[in-house]
Amino acid sequence: MAVPIIMPRQGQSVESCIITKWFRNKGDSVAKGDILLSYETDKAAFDIESPCDGTILEVCFSEGDEVPVLANIAVIGAAGEDFSPPAASGKTDKPVFDKTGNTAETVKKQEAQVVQVNDIGERKIRISPRAKRIAVDKGINFSLIAGSGPNGRIVAADMEKAIATPIVSAEKTQETHEYSDQPLSNVRKLIAKSMHASLQNSAQLTHHMSADVRKLLDTRSKIKKSVTTQDITLNDMICWCVIRALEEFPEANSHFLNDKIRTFNKVHLGIAVDTPRGLMVPVVKNASGMDIAELSKELKHIAESCRRGNIDPELIKSEAASFTVSNLGNYGVEMFTPVINLPQVAILGVCSVVNRPAVIDSNILAFIPCMGLSLTYDHRAIDGGPATLFLKEIKKQIEEFKF
């Protein structure tokens, strides 16, 4: 029995998703649990695993296609199996899984025809059960189709017509010898929109400071030598310090909500993660109460979820975090001006560790490892003085690291 793979509905407002990658091709045999494809909504990216063992009999959409939710995107079954849906019983030819348009353009094009007023004055889409079944089988968004039945009911003939004249899919990548155009991914669109809004709608400025990380590095090497198998990263330790500092400066653990400032009792720490799809900022909820091992585990978990694409969409909303840490230390960045994820009021940029000359033990000049810290804050919510004191508190937590 062939099993259809349906584009899941990731949240009530999601109407379509974009297939970002096919990991397997038509004809491949797959085992239950194998990742078949990745797709993304406007908010997050996800994977679809194979629900069963079998062979991919049909692939209905390609990478980059926008697919309405609940549409059939592939069929898995026994090799050679005839997976004709029941509607086609009696016909021997295999049904064609058409790619039918559901792009933003087609929505606009067809909107005018969609809603018909019936003779009892109701405005609703009428569709026969048969037509609806065809829509689901063939992955057609029936809300875009004008019905020819009584009172504008969408009937099977309308679906057949829609299948016979497929609407062109999303504009394909156009390439010339001079440049190439790539349509924006949904994640890209989101980042563009939110970052631009952040800079337009708040009063951001950045203070830079550096912290002596000798103790931090020393402690980390001790942890590494210790029996614990868990790898505690520098970033984990810095986040731990940031949480401690936030507990001292709750005004930085806040949202600026235009007419009020909401200060959180607990720290919900956002952490910027670079993924192939773009920047994502998952959150560790209730991070205040965690010991460093727990925190490290959670940070690792959410970062991996983002990279795998199966992060809970709720955890990547900017409203979910009360403060964000963005660490570019691994890339050699010595100083930067991170952009706040509104409505949060501040973000800490963590930079590379650089050896700086410093006077130690009264007269001895030495090079000591220092980590750059760049705190961007929203002057609407926090003034320069407290921001500086908060940054100093982070520096202090790092330099006097203990857990």
């Binding site: 029941p86 509607a87 019983s89 009696g90 003779d119 009892i120 026969s128 059960p129 048969r130 037509a131 609806k132 079944r133 020819s148 039945g149 009584p150 009911r153 009937v155 099977a156 003939a157």
Partner: protein
């Protein structure tokens, strides 16, 4: 209308008077002393014993109903208990002289009659036969219970068996005589000659008459006693039964060896009240019920009133009436005067009768006074009578304990076998003949003029050159029915047919033309205009082992046989626990042209009632094949025929209607025309309306309709319809029944459930208007026309290009008409 009996105006116009004979009232005068020549002391005591058994049995039920206790055993019986305390002498006297082959039928108040007839049968049967009966009844299930630990005589064992079987039945236990499916008001046990009691007042009258017909037509030994109440004299079907039972033809027209009146006693157990209505004095006007006999026939039905409080008077009367019946002078009518001391039911507060009246009857209590007479006549000592009472009480305590023990006497387990009652609704047997003797006919079938004439008919509607055949040369639908019917008459000796104008006329629509020549009177005869009794007698005839075709001339007359068709015919197979079969085919002709009371398709009424098979063929091929199936089966079949198409030829079956025997299974629809765009399901003659609509769809809109003829309504195999709907996605259902509540509405609902995901539009029913049927000249505005089907498709299923309906939109029209109730 026999041509050999001329009605001479000179004779019937002569002046004169109708003379009546005196009707005896309580003329039995003998004493115990007088009767000592007739009865042995044991007989006298047995009569007493049987009365006490009934008295105690009913008293036990009364106590259980009112106090939930008897002999220290507690039990709650929520079901009915219409008790006959006071009527014991009538019951025992009635049964005393009956043989096992004599059948009794009863009413809702018949516990006493069951026990009396059972005890009488036990007395008459030898031990081996008795034991075999008990051992073979439902695999000996009830016997095992009463035999456990018992070491007495077979007759004593049988008494236990009788009491246990009856009580378990009343308590709805699977070991009851009818698996607990009959209950108090319907319990019966055919091996002892106890046929169904009936919860419908007077319901047994026409069924009993049918049983008497069975005895007579098949020359079986035994008489029938129809025990019904005095108030049933007010019921139409009782009068119909009495008229049916006293037709002149039995004594004038039937062949010599069958000549004579029906062997039936209408025994009115006259307890003077119909529930709370006082028949003598309030709700009837006959003064004495026995008077009615005088109005029925010159023999006055040998009517008399007898003293039902004196068992010996009742025994005497039954002995005399039975002899009259055996002399072929039936039927007889007895007004057995008795009194019900107990209430109509335990909830009866006796608000309609005085304490003084009850006490006066109690002072003359039949059990006590008969006992006193036995003691006075030195037949038995009081202590011996007391011993009898005590031992019966002890026995009933024991039987009650067994009957209410859920481990010994469980009910049918509907939890583990949810369909166990469903499986008993039909017997679904295939039986060539109901008896083995040679069928009585008047000529070889091949000599029959109609059979000969049919050999020259064209059995397909077009001849070999493709030209439509003239009506005169056409083998028609009525011929298809005829061929099946006459074939069965020559196969099954127990087959009989009756109805209005069935003989000589050949039925109002010539279906039976030619049968009169083929069959002796007792196998085909005209009934009175008594649709209730036509159906009711068929039920009794079928129930006793015969096979019958009864005819209701117009479907509109079905209302006259409402109780028989709705309450009796469908119920008895399951209510008997599948002990009896019901091979009854009721032909019902659906009219047209004759206005509001002769043109209605009431298939839905019958199809609604569980327990009936309902067919409605529309082609000669289907009519013959379905009639063959109906007549081969063991179940009641309502066989609808449309008068519009009695003369239609076979248009569908390749090669025309086969000459030989073939069956079409009841319940299988038939695709009459293949198509791919829309399905049209039809019932009855609407097939031809749909064919015309299909032509329009094809010619004007390029659509091909798949036409399915339902042929049967119950049972019905939906699969071919669903397969078609899966293909087309659209279905219209058409019949000539008024659309509201038409059976097609049921079908469309089932189709919606089964094929919802394949439907491209709602199933649409096209039926007649919800009006009176107007005159023929206006019928096109009442019955579905091809254009109505096109309209319905255009408006509700798929708008047809260029088509328009010049009418109110269907939505507002549907709302409005329903609001108006039309």
């Amino acid at each position: 209308m026999p041509k050999n009996q001329n009605i001479d105006p000179q004779t019937v116009r002569k002046p004169g008077y109708i003379e009546f004979n005196r009707i005896p009232v309580n003329q039995y005068r003998k004493t115990i002393e007088d009767e000592k020549a007739t009865f042995t002391p044991d007989d006298f005591i047995r009569i007493y014993h049987d009365m006490v058994v009934i008295r105690e049995f009913e008293t036990m039920l009364n106590l259980i109903k009112t106090t939930n206790e008897y002999s220290g055993i507690t039990y709650n019986h929520p079901g009915p208990a219409h008790l006959s305390i006071g009527q014991e002498a009538s019951a025992v006297g009635m049964a005393y002289n009956l043989d096992v082959d004599d059948y009794i039928f009863g009413s809702h108040r018949s516990h006493g009659e069951i026990l009396a007839k059972g005890l009488s049968a036990i007395h008459r049967l030898d031990d081996n036969t008795l034991y075999d009966i008990m051992k073979n009844y439902f695999g000996g299930a009830a016997l095992k219970v009463v035999e456990h630990g018992f070491s007495g005589s077979i007759k004593e064992l049988a008494k236990r068996f009788l009491l246990y079987g009856a009580l378990a039945e009343i308590f709805a236990r699977a070991n009851g005589f009818n698996k607990g499916l009959g209950g108090s008001m319907h319990a019966f046990f055919t091996p002892f000659g106890i046929y169904p009691n009936n919860a419908i007042v007077g319901g047994s009258a026409d069924i009993s008459t049918g049983a008497a017909l069975y005895k007579k037509i098949n020359r079986k030994p035994g008489i029938i006693v129809c025990n019904i109440g005095d108030a049933s004299m007010g019921c139409g079907p009782v009068w119909e039964a009495i008229c049916f039972a006293s037709m002149d033809q039995y004594k004038t027209l039937w062949p010599e060896e069958y000549r004579g009146g029906l062997p039936i006693i209408f025994n009115f157990m006259n307890n003077l009240y119909g529930m709370g209505g006082q028949t003598m004095g309030e709700t009837m006007g006959y003064g004495s019920l026995a008077r009615v006999g005088a109005g029925i026939n010159p023999e006055q039905m040998h009517a008399e009133r007898i003293d039902g409080y004196n068992p010996l008077a009742v025994i005497d009367a039954f002995a005399r009436k039975k002899q009259i019946l055996l002399n072929s002078n039936g039927p007889a009518l007895l007004d057995t005067l008795t009194y019900r001391i107990s209430g109509h039911s335990p909830s009866d507060a006796s608000s309609y009768r005085s304490k003084e009246e009850i006490e006066a009857w109690q002072r003359e209590d039949s059990v006590i006074s008969y006992g006193n007479e036995l003691v006075a006549a030195a037949v038995a000592s009081q202590s011996k009578l007391d011993d009898i009472t005590h031992s019966i009480k002890d026995l009933l305590g024991l039987i009650l304990g067994l009957a209410i023990d859920d481990t010994v006497s469980p009910r049918l387990n509907l939890a583990t076998d949810p369909d166990c009652i469903g499986k008993m609704m039909f017997s679904n047997e295939s039986i060539d003949r109901m008896d083995d003797r040679k069928p009585e006919t008047l000529m070889p079938m091949d000599d029959n003029p109609r059979v000969k004439s049919l050999k020259n008919k064209e059995r397909f509607w077009k001849d070999s050159e493709g030209k439509p055949v003239s009506k005169a040369r056409q083998f028609q639908l009525r011929d298809g029915i005829f061929e099946a019917v006459i074939d069965r008459f020559y196969k099954d000796p127990a087959l009989a047919a009756w109805g209005e104008e069935n003989r000589d006329w050949g039925g109002a629509f010539a279906v039976y033309r030619g049968l009169t020549e083929a069959l002796p009177y007792q196998r085909l005869f005209n009934s009175p205009i008594s649709e209730g009794a036509i159906a009711g007698t068929a039920i009794g005839y079928g129930m006793c082992g015969g096979r019958v075709i009864a005819e209701i001339m117009y479907c509109d007359f079905l209302g006259r046989s409402g109780d028989e068709v709705f309450n009796q015919l469908p119920k008895w197979q399951a209510m008997s626990g599948n002990i009896i079969k019901m091979p009854v085919t009721l032909r019902v002709s659906v009219g047209s042209k004759y206005g509001a009371q002769h043109s209605q398709d009431w298939t839905a009424l019958t199809a609604h009632i569980p327990g009936l098979k309902v067919v409605f063929p529309a082609t000669p091929y289907d009519a013959k094949g379905l009639m063959n199936s109906a007549l081969q089966g063991s179940d009641p079949v309502i066989f609808f025929e449309s008068q519009r198409i009695y003369d239609i030829g076979e248009m569908f079956h390749e090669g025309g209607v086969p000459e030989g025997y073939y069956e079409i299974p009841i319940g299988e629809p038939d695709i009459k025309r293949h198509g791919s765009h829309i399905t049209i399901l039809t019932a009855g003659s609407a097939l031809y309306t749909a064919m015309k609509a299909s032509d329009i769809l094809h010619d004007n809109y390029g659509l091909s309709a798949e036409i399915i003829d339902a042929r049967s309504l119950v049972p019905f195999n939906y699969e071919p319809v669903i397969e078609s709907v899966k293909k087309t996605g659209k279905i219209v259902l058409v019949s000539d029944a008024s659309s509201r509540g038409s059976f097609l509405k049921e079908m469309s609902q089932v189709i919606t459930e089964l094929a919802f995901d394949w439907l491209d539009a709602p199933p649409v029913v096209v039926g007649s208007r919800n009006w009176i049927t107007p005159a023929f000249e206006m019928e096109e505005y009442f019955f579905p026309q091809p254009s109505w089907i096109i309209d319905a498709i255009h408006e509700k299923i798929m708008p047809l290009e260029g088509y328009s309906v010049n009418a109110e939109s269907f939505y507002s029209k549907t709302i409005r008409l329903n609001k108006e109730g039309i």
